[in-house]
Structures are given as structure tokens and as C-alpha cells.
């Protein structure tokens, strides 16, 4: 099972990194989502893997529990990363509507304009 989790994290990371290196906003957002999955699973797995041992206390029997702390951390991370994705989507959408393209680098003319602005 460890191999499954580790390889999933690896593949998600690789795909995420590849996509955030693309030149358009949308693939970058998708890539970031993939990286979010990877990071969340990675953090979760720092508590080590356990099967049939949810961290919900059993009043009647002494049973093993999985590590609750990484789970609590990842739970908020999932929600926060949704907020982050939403902000990012909004910015990307705004940039697209303002500039009429969703390239994430500056074109030649834009770079020149920015240069002029900072020089002035």
C-alpha cells in the first residue's frame, strides 16, 4: 500500500509541476490543483498508513487508531486550498477579461510597457 500512496504522490506532483510550467492560466490552475492533491496526501501520509483504524475513539474496545494530527491539518488544508484555487481562478479570469488572452507571461510589448512604467 505504501508503494501505491508514494507513487500516487509522485505522479500527481510530476503532472502538477509539468502543468504549472505551461504558458496559459488554466493549465496552471489545474496543475496547482494536482499539486494540492499531492501535498495533501503527502502530509496525510506523514501519519503513516493504517487500515480500519479511524481516529474515532471506541468506548467498548481497545483498538488501534490512525494518527489524527495530520488528518486535522490536512482537513483544513483541503478547505483552505479551495479558497486559494477560487482566488486564483478569479484572478486568472479577471486577467483574461482585461487582457483578452490568458497567457501568464508578459508579451514583448507588455514587458516594454512595464519597463517604461517602472523607469518613469
Amino acid at each position: 500500500m505504501e508503494v501505491v500512496v508514494a507513487s500516487s504522490v509522485g505522479v500527481l506532483t510530476a503532472a502538477g509541476v509539468y502543468l504549472i510550467l505551461r504558458m496559459r492560466a488554466f493549465p496552471v490552475i489545474i496543475g496547482l490543483s494536482l499539486l494540492t492533491y499531492a501535498v495533501n496526501v503527502f502530509l496525510f501520509s506523514t501519519g503513516r498508513l493504517a487500515i480500519n483504524a479511524p481516529p474515532v475513539l471506541n468506548k467498548y474496545a481497545d483498538v488501534p487508531y490512525s494518527d489524527p494530527l495530520p488528518q486535522a491539518l490536512v482537513l483544513t488544508a483541503i478547505v483552505i486550498s479551495f479558497g486559494m484555487t477560487a482566488v486564483l481562478v478569479m484572478i486568472a479570469l479577471g486577467a483574461y477579461l482585461e487582457a483578452d488572452h490568458d497567457r501568464i507571461d508578459m508579451g514583448e510589448d507588455e514587458a516594454e510597457a512595464a519597463e517604461k512604467e517602472s523607469g518613469a
Binding site: 508514494a6 505522479v11 509541476v17 503527502f42 482537513l75 483541503i78 478547505v79 486568472a92
Partner: protein, 955 residues
């Protein structure tokens, strides 16, 4: 003898409190403003006078308030002789400057602002001299740099003022940075950051191998602050400040901070060869050089500035000698220099104020027009020259005496000769100040008709001149202060006797040579001046500007190389650098053998893994088709939720699957307004490079995960498992951690989420008021629109779902403390139920039926969570301490009520509000994109007869 007094921190805080007043009081008039500026200074001065007797009897007043004891930082103050001397100087001169500035500043200058800056500076300076903790001292030290920046650049409209302020800040700030390093080393050697502890450990510090670095770093701070060669150049440029600032900062206080620090650290740092040679050489060179330049400056203030540089050099040199007598001379000269130099600056200000010029070549003969000013200026300048019966003479004699028996590298002549030369030049420029400004025939071409200023303006320098004469004729009046201050510097019990006549000593002859030589120099000043002006010499400002320009250029080249406007460039750098750091850490640290046995892989898990890997691979291949990528993203999210279920994380599975739903909805909405395809842009080589980076990163992370997954570890979770039920009253440990153990984190997180929601709303507002709105209106979306936008089945289905989903949400919320669930998940579930209404019947239709503002929901959520936490204060417990109890209402089974539940309610509301606000903002765009608002919940409603008619039949 050491006493504690609560007056000391009050003295320290008074100027800062006082700084709040002038800005308000200026509305009541200039005099009222000046009065209220003087008030805190006066109170502090009185308090100081209350403490003074104890200190003068050799005691030390101390007080300490712990601030950050873990860092060794405490608000500790102490007042010994040296501190008393400086504090009295800072407050006393501050008072005089307040008076002087009242008359000096014109009606157009914002006087309230000036006094605010002045008091801020005064507070910072005072803090330096009475701090008993070197970290605290550093804070005040930086504050003086900042507040002096404001003061020097007070005349914002003058470019020289701005440039001078920037230069002063750059030089003293850089020195301050160096000093922080030195102080930290010092504290590390001594094992304490308390000054009194450090001062006790002189021998250990001098013996330490870190002594030299610490010394050099601290001296850098002191030399830059006190304008020692080669950092002297900022002081003349800071003269662009209004004259009261120059008189205060550049004669009495800020530039003396460096000298103060050297005096303060004298018991610890002095007494070594390094100290002796570095400090005395820098001091002597500065003294001679400053005096030489001063002689050829035509600007009155520039002359005084370089003379200050020269006198600061003199003080530095004396401290560098490292003998007790030199320390006494230094302390005495600090007092004397303060009196005559502040008076001289104020005189220069008066001359400038009345004649509208400070150019010596355009002045002369002023004695006839402004006799009082001339008298004040002459007295002060004679003291600066070191003429008998003025106080400058006394300390200069002591300095020459010390110089006469100090040798460098075995050469007994060089120090006395140079010191005499410095004194000689000092006489020359002092006499020039008198003869070329006040004496000589009256002229008729002054830019303005000169006359004496009102009493208020010359009162301050006149008072200082009285002190000059008093100390000059009756030196013993200064003896008590000099005694305690010098004893505090040296740490020894000194009993110096200050007197005018020391007998026939080498110093007497050196003095005579200096005075005569100075007079001769003045007589031949004209040809000398011509030669000086023609001679080539390095211009400090040009060098400084070139240095700054070079550094800025280098920084720009580096950042442009790394940060070229394409996010992919620095993301690539970031990824590679991170992997490299991780690799170094792994190969450097070594690895313990694997201890955990691998868990088996059941077929279901294998199938899920295949789906996940397959979907990920397909995303990479198909990412140009954005819609397809989104669908695949959903598959991955689903697999991960399943993984959480299998790996004993039910809470995560619930959260993941509901977040997944909301995320996909959000992305779908956004995609509606964006291009549906990404063009193929990067060249194959580029894609290969990115692929390689991606594989390296993925491989690195997978290896790392595998490494720790196969090894055991110890965690603090045992505590949470053991105390979740006993302490938090819940059996779902994850939820108890969220709302109880780590409640503070969660509180922060919901605030972040709320801010994200509001940010999106604000972004949308800005967007819809800009050119984007026009572009949206112009775009034609009709092609994408479905003929049946609000399908009957969906409307009916979601309506039926709403109460059920709400019930499920409430159930999940209520059981969250004991079973998987809780506020986060409940908020997401209910927001999905609501979003479905938007999807089914359209934005406009749903919006008109909404009763609660989502902003309010976020606000209430945060407030409820915060109040729940704060309620613990009522019971004397720390923030967010939870409590719980069991309630039994007869028909219902016994149930638990925990205060954490109210906190979870806050979480629930915030999550719901934020998620709804985010999607609401996005869907609002649709209105701008020309989407019509439907009146009915669905396009075809069989229950209404008129809907049976279609438009075509109408026609």
C-alpha cells in the same frame, strides 16, 4: 548601590506619548503646539532630576519588565552616570530646540509634523542611553535612524533634503545592521543580553575568539552613526535639514550616539591593541580631516558640520586611547561640545533666518546690525577654538595632554603632532566663523536687511553661552557630573579635578602653537582657499551615488535574470532548487533502516490506483482540451476521497469529496468565460525540459514519501488520543483537534477563508466596473447556451433535495464531535445544496429568493467563533478553552453540549458564507454577459397552462 524606580520607564515612554499631541495641538496655534511639545520633555526632565541625586551619589537606578524572555529581550532600563549625562543633554537641549524651532520655522512649514518627528527622535535617543538590554538598545538605535530620516527630509520640497535624508539613512542604517551582528555576538559570548551582565564580563569577552568580529561590527555601527572617517560624508549632506534639526541631531544627540556607544562598551571592548589602534587612528584621522575641510567651507552650516565631524573624531580618539584620564577628557568634552556647538548651529540659523544667506563670502560686518547674535556667536566660537576662560579650552587641554604622551607603533611624535594640527585647524575655522561673519566692515549687499531676532529665538543659544562661560571660568561646577559619568564609562572610581591652570605642561605649548598657527592660517586664508578650491579631491557624494547606483544595477540584473515576467521561469527555478535542497538533505543526513512492514495492496486499491494514475496521465496528455481536463480532475479527486476512506480518514474523505464538488463547479463556471482550449505553444525542447523537471520533482517527492512511510516515528498524537474524550468531550479526535486542541489554528484558518471569499467579491466588483465588463457585454455567448437551461427534472429534483441535504448537513454538523463530520463538512454540504438551486433555476431567480447576505454569514461565523473563544476569559481560562456537559431531556436520549460546538458553528457559517460568496461572485459575471433573468423557476412548467403555448404558436 542599585535602586529600582518606576519613573525610568515613564521617562522612556513620555516622548513617544507626547508625540501624539503636537499633531493635534497645531490647530490651537503655533505657540500652543510648541508648549505642548515642551511639556512631556519638561516632565521627563523633572523626573530625571528626581532620580539624579541617587546617581550623583554613585548609585544606579534599574528597572526591568520581561518582554520576550525566551529571546533574552526585556524592557530593561538603567540610569548610571553616563546615562544621566546623556539623558539630561537630550532632554535639556530638546527643550531649547523646541523653543528655538517655534521662532525658526516659518508659517508655511507644517510645525505640528516637525514636533511629532522631534519627539519621536527624542524618545528613540533617550531609549538608547537608558536601555539596559542590548536588543532593546538596538531597537531604539534603529528608531533614531528612522526618525532622523524624517527630520532631515522635513523640507520635502527640497531635493537636497530628500537626498541627504536618504544618504543618512543608508549609511547609519547599514552601520546599524552591522552593529546588530556585533551585539548578538557579544550577547552570545556573555550569555545574556542585559547590558549590566555584559559589562561585568569584559575579560571573558576580550579573551573570546569572536572578540575581533564583534568589535569591528559594533565599531562600524558607532563610526557610521558618529560620522567617522570614511563614513563622515553623510553628515554635511544632512545639513539640508532645518537648522533646529541640525542643532539637535548633529551637535548634541544623534551623532553622539556612536560616541555614547563606544563609551558604554568601553569597559568591555577597550584595553586591547585592536581597540587602541582602530579607534584612535580613525578618531585622529577624522579630527584632522574634518577640521581641514571645515576651514574651506563657505556655507556656515557646512563649516559647522565638518567641525562637528572633527570634534567627534576628537572624542573617538580619546576613547580609543583607553586610559582613565582620556575617558574623563572625553566625557568633559562631550558636555562642552554640546554647549558651544548647539549655540553655534542656532547662531548660524539666526544669521540665515535674518540675512537669507549662509554663504560666508556674502557675509561680514554683521556685528553692527545684530550685536546680540554676534556676541553669542563669538563666545561659542571662541570656546570651539579652545581659548582660555571658555569651556572648550579645558577639555582641549586635557585632550592635548593625553595626546602628548601617546605613541603609535613606538613613535612618540606622530600623535601629539597630528593632535596639535587638528587643534590648530580648529582655531582657524573658529576664528574664521567670527571674523568673516561678524567682524569686518558692514556691507550693503546682504540679501535681506539683518537685525537681531526676537528674544525667543536667541534665548536658547544665549543660555548655552552662559553655560559655556560658567564652566569655562568655574570648571568645578561640572565636576560632579563628569565624575559619575567618567566613572560609569571606565567602571573605576575616579575623582578628576577640573581646573584652568595645569602648570607649564606640553599641552600648554601645543595650545599656544595651535592658537598662533590658527591665527596665521586665517590671515592667509584667501590664497589658501583659492589653492584648495583648485585642487582635485574626491567628492564623497559622487562615490556614494555610484556605489548605490552600482548596487541597484546589480540587483536589477539579478532579478531580471531570475524574474523575467514569465511565471514558468521562476517556478522552474523554484522547483529545481527545492529538489536540490531536498537531495542535499537526504544524502547529507544518512538514513536509518526501514522498520515498517508494507501493507498489502487489495485489488480495489489497485484499481483505484490505476484510475488515478491513468486520469493523471490523461490530464497531462489532454490538458489542451480544458473541459476534458476538468472531468479527469474530478476522477482524481474521487479516487483520493476513496483512498482516505480506505486509509482510516473518514473526515478527510467527507471533506475531500464535498470540496471536490464545489471546486469542479467553480472551475466549470470560470471555464464558461475563458477559452475552451489551450493552444500548443512551447517547442518540443521546452516540453522535454519541463517534463524532465517534473519527473525529477515527482521522483523526489515519491522517494521521500516512501522513505518515511517505511519508517516508524514518534508523534504527539498520543496526547490527543488520550485527552480527546477526557479533556475535549468528543470521541472524534480529528474534530476535537480542530475545534479544541488546535482551535486557534482553525480560528485563523476560517478567517483566511473568509478573507478569500471577500477578496473574490472585491475582485469581481473591480472587474465589473472596468473595461472587462464592456468586453463581456460585447461577447456573444448564445452559441454555448442550452435551449433548455432550467430543465424540469433538475429543478424538481434539487427542490426535493434541498431539505434533505440541509438535514444531512445539520446531522453531520451535530455528530461531528463524536463521529466523522463537523462544521467544515456541514458547511460544504449545505453550500452544495444551495448551489444546486442556482444551477437548476439560474442565478437571477435564486438570487431574488436569498434572504441572508453571504458577507454577513462570514462575519457572524468569525464573530461567533471568536466570542466562543473569548467566553473562556469570563471563567478565567485562556482564549478558546472549551467546556462540555451532558444534558438529558426526557423524550430524547441523553446528549452532549460542548462549547466547542458553538465554535464549530462559527466554522460552519464561515465556510458556508465563503463558499457561497465565491461562487456567487463568479456567477454574477453571467449577468454582465447578457444572461437573461427568468421569472419562473424552470423553462417549461407543466403545472402552468400558459407555458403550454410556445412562442411559435403565438406568432
Amino acid at each position: 548601590m542599585s535602586n529600582s524606580s518606576s519613573l525610568l520607564p515613564i521617562i522612556a515612554i513620555l516622548p513617544f506619548l507626547g508625540a501624539l499631541i503636537p499633531g493635534v495641538m497645531i490647530r490651537a496655534g503655533r505657540t500652543a503646539c510648541a508648549t505642548f511639545t515642551a511639556l512631556p520633555t519638561l516632565i521627563a526632565l523633572v523626573m530625571l532630576a528626581v532620580l539624579a541625586p541617587q546617581v550623583l551619589q554613585g548609585g544606579v537606578v534599574q528597572t526591568e519588565i520581561a518582554w520576550l524572555p525566551q529571546l533574552g529581550l526585556s524592557v530593561a532600563f538603567f540610569l548610571d552616570g553616563l546615562g544621566l549625562l546623556f539623558a539630561a543633554m537630550i532632554l535639556g537641549v530638546g527643550l531649547l530646540i523646541t523653543l528655538y524651532a517655534r521662532y525658526y520655522l516659518s508659517g508655511e512649514d507644517p510645525m505640528g509634523q516637525f514636533y511629532v518627528y522631534l519627539l519621536l527622535f527624542q524618545g528613540a535617543m533617550l531609549g538608547i542611553v537608558i536601555s539596559d538590554n542590548i536588543l532593546l538598545l538596538l531597537i531604539f538605535w534603529e528608531l533614531t535612524s528612522l526618525s532622523s530620516f524624517l527630520l532631515i527630509g522635513y523640507w520635502k520640497h527640497l531635493p537636497e533634503g530628500r537626498q541627504g535624508a536618504r544618504m543618512a539613512l543608508a549609511v547609519t542604517g547599514a552601520g546599524g545592521l552591522a552593529m546588530i551582528g556585533g551585539m548578538l555576538i557579544l550577547g552570545d559570548i556573555a550569555g545574556s543580553y542585559n547590558l549590566t551582565d555584559i559589562l561585568d564580563q569584559g575579560e571573558a569577552i576580550r579573551a573570546s575568539e569572536w572578540y575581533l568580529p564583534a568589535l569591528v561590527l559594533i565599531l562600524l555601527g558607532a563610526f557610521t552613526k558618529s560620522a567617522q572617517f570614511p563614513f563622515h560624508f553623510w553628515l554635511p549632506h544632512a545639513m539640508a535639514a532645518p537648522t533646529p534639526v541640525s542643532a539637535y541631531l548633529h551637535s548634541a544627540t544623534m551623532v553622539k550616539a556612536g560616541v555614547f556607544l563606544m563609551a558604554r562598551m568601553w569597559p568591555v571592548l577597550s584595553g586591547t591593541e585592536a581597540w587602541f589602534y582602530i579607534v584612535s587612528i580613525v578618531g585622529l584621522v577624522t579630527m584632522v580631516l574634518g577640521a581641514l575641510i571645515a576651514l574651506f567651507k563657505d556655507d556656515l552650516k557646512a563649516l559647522l558640520a565638518f567641525s562637528t565631524v572633527s570634534h567627534l573624531g576628537l572624542l573617538t580618539m580619546l576613547l580609543g586611547f583607553g586610559t582613565d584620564k582620556a575617558a574623563v577628557a572625553a566625557v568633559f568634552h562631550i558636555i562642552n561640545h554640546l554647549t558651544f556647538k548647539a549655540a553655534l548651529f542656532m547662531t548660524a540659523g539666526i544669521v540665515d533666518h535674518e540675512t537669507h544667506t549662509r554663504d560666508i563670502k556674502r557675509l561680514g560686518g554683521l556685528a553692527k546690525f545684530m550685536p546680540v547674535t554676534a556676541l553669542i556667536g563669538t563666545v561659542a566660537a571662541l570656546s570651539m577654538a579652545g581659548i582660555p576662560f571658555f569651556n572648550g579650552f579645558l577639555s582641549k587641554e586635557m585632550m592635548l595632554e593625553e595626546a602628548s604622551h601617546t605613541g603609535w607603533f613606538g613613535n612618540p611624535w606622530i600623535v601629539p603632532a597630528l593632535a596639535t594640527l587638528g587643534a590648530l585647524l580648529s582655531v582657524a575655522y573658529s576664528l574664521r566663523f567670527i571674523f568673516h561673519v561678524f567682524a569686518g566692515p558692514p556691507r550693503d549687499d546682504y540679501p535681506a536687511k539683518p537685525h537681531d531676532p526676537p528674544f525667543g529665538m536667541y534665548a536658547a543659544p544665549a543660555l548655552l553661552c552662559v553655560l559655556v562661560m560658567l564652566i569655562g571660568i568655574l570648571p568645578w561646577v561640572a565636576e560632579p557630573v563628569v565624575t559619575v559619568a567618567a566613572s560609569a564609562v571606565t567602571g573605576a572610581d575616579l575623582h578628576p579635578h577640573l581646573k584652568i591652570w595645569h602648570g607649564v605642561t606640553p599641552a600648554l605649548f601645543m595650545s599656544i602653537v595651535a592658537v598662533l598657527g590658527g591665527a596665521v592660517l586665517l590671515a592667509i586664508h584667501r590664497p589658501l582657499d583659492r589653492a584648495w578650491q583648485d585642487a582635485p579631491r574626491p567628492e564623497a557624494k559622487v562615490i556614494f551615488d555610484a556605489l548605490v547606483g552600482g548596487a541597484a544595477g546589480l540587483a536589477r540584473r539579478v532579478s531580471e535574470a531570475l524574474h523575467d515576467g514569465a511565471i514558468s521561469r521562476y517556478l522552474a527555478i523554484f522547483v529545481v532548487a527545492t529538489v536540490a535542497l531536498g537531495a542535499i538533505a537526504v544524502f547529507d543526513g544518512g538514513l536509518a533502516p526501514a522498520t515498517r512492514a508494507l501493507l498489502p495492496i487489495p485489488p480495489v486499491a489497485a484499481a483505484g490506483w490505476l484510475l488515478l494514475i491513468g486520469a493523471t496521465a490523461l490530464i497531462v496528455v489532454n490538458h489542451r482540451n480544458r473541459f476534458r481536463a476538468l472531468v479527469l480532475l474530478g476522477v482524481i479527486g474521487l479516487m483520493i476521497s476513496g483512498g482516505f476512506v480506505y486509509l482510516s480518514a473518514p473526515d478527510l474523505a467527507l471533506t475531500q469529496i464535498s470540496v471536490e464538488t464545489v471546486t469542479i463547479m467553480l472551475l466549470l463556471l470560470a471555464l464558461h468565460f475563458m477559452p475552451k482550449h489551450s493552444p500548443r505553444e512551447s517547442a518540443p525542447a521546452r516540453r522535454l525540459r519541463d517534463g524532465a523537471i517534473a519527473v525529477i520533482a515527482g521522483g523526489g517527492v515519491a522517494t521521500l514519501a516512501m522513505m518515511f512511510l517505511t519508517r516508524d516515528f514518534s508523534s504527539i498524537s498520543e496526547f490527543h488520543l488520550a485527552n480527546s474524550y477526557k479533556g475535549g468531550g468528543g470521541t472524534n479526535v480529528v474534530n476535537v483537534i480542530l475545534v479544541d486542541f488546535r482551535g486557534y489554528d482553525t480560528y485563523g484558518e476560517i478567517i483566511v477563508l473568509g478573507i478569500a471569499g471577500l477578496t473574490i467579491y472585491a475582485l469581481m466588483e473591480a472587474l465589473l466596473n472596468g473595461p472587462a465588463a464592456r468586453r463581456l457585454r460585447a461577447r456573444d455567448f448564445s452559441r454555448d447556451r442550452s435551449r433548455d437551461r432550467h430543465p424540469l427534472m433538475m429543478v424538481v429534483g434539487t427542490r426535493a433535495m434541498l431539505p434533505i441535504a440541509t438535514m444531512v448537513g445539520i446531522y453531520i454538523f451535530l455528530r461531528g464531535h463524536n463521529q466523522p463530520g463537523g462544521g467544515f463538512v456541514a458547511g460544504l454540504v449545505i453550500s452544495i445544496a444551495l448551489l444546486m438551486q442556482y444551477m437548476a433555476s439560474g442565478f437571477g431567480w435564486t438570487q431574488t429568493r436569498k434572504r441572508i447576505e453571504y458577507h454577513l454569514m462570514i462575519g457572524w461565523g468569525v464573530v461567533i467563533a471568536g466570542l466562543t473563544g473569548a467566553a473562556a476569559w469570563l471563567f478565567g481560562e485562556p482564549f478558546l478553552t472549551s467546556t462540555f456537559g451532558y444534558v438529558h431531556w426526557p423524550p430524547i436520549e441523553e446528549f452532549e453540549l460542548a462549547s466547542a460546538m458553538a465554535f464549530d458553528l462559527g466554522v460552519f457559517l464561515t465556510v458556508l458564507g465563503a463558499v457561497m460568496l465565491m461562487l456567487y461572485s463568479l456567477s454574477r459575471i453571467a449577468r454582465y454577459a447578457g444572461e437573461s433573468v427568468n421569472v419562473e423557476p424552470m423553462d417549461y412548467d407543466p403545472s402552468l397552462k400558459r407555458n403550454i403555448k410556445t412562442p411559435r404558436e403565438d406568432g
